[in-house]
Symmetry: C2
Subunit: 153 residues, 2 copies
Amino acid sequence: MAYKHILVAVDLSPESDILVEKAVSMARPYNAQISLIHVGINYSDLYTGLVDINMNDMKDRITEDAHIILNKLASNAGYPITHTLSGSGEFGQVLIEAIREFGADLVVCGHHQDFWSKLMSSARQLINNTHVDTLIVPLKDEVITEEKAVEVN
Amino acid sequence: MAYKHILVAVDLSPESDILVEKAVSMARPYNAQISLIHVGINYSDLYTGLVDINMNDMKDRITEDAHIILNKLASNAGYPITHTLSGSGEFGQVLIEAIREFGADLVVCGHHQDFWSKLMSSARQLINNTHVDTLIVPLKDEVITEEKAVEVN
């Protein structure tokens, strides 16, 4: 019943380490595989007007930065990382493809990897389309933000 | 980073075994504690008209049956079960209280423990109120039902 291939969906924030550590603690006793995946946001959605930058250059730079952080996460894991994947597009769809291609049986994702509604819609898509188990880890800054919002009101 | 106290929320369906087995596989390598919790539904919600039964008698019988199944799950786990809890009321609220009281750091719940929206709202409550990790396991019959719905349309 132990997991055989754990796919960790990271957003490259400093808390991504926590997700990887949790996956390692689950994988190590059973020599399970761990893969990392980062799904880039769709940059064109971020710009609603004319901007004074070359979008493609910006995209390339951000993708390159993402690859550096992703490789650093993998090399600091203290455990062999089977695949280090980088994708772009709709979060849930990219995840589903990766799960199927690599036969993952658990997806680990953080709370603030995306907004709650998007995460929930992705989790629903995942469960309905892949029947994969999903571990949701609340990450600190997101929770602190919500607590602050409560204090202000 | 390994979990220390895993709380398994079971709905007493035959698939509850799967949730317990998954929890055991995560707990065993680290000698973590496992507790089971069942949150009974609010029976008064089920009856919208006059009914020819004594509600309290019915409640007691269902609760008694639940206790028998819960104890059987615990004794078949092949691993010591620290607490076997039975509650009734609002699912998310009962879970939050149990998590706080027993210091659980992971909640394992099945997909068809409740309807999706209720499960999601519970998961959101859990994460925001307790900062606890949540493992969602899709259970077969729920997924089959949804697949059937797609085929019919």
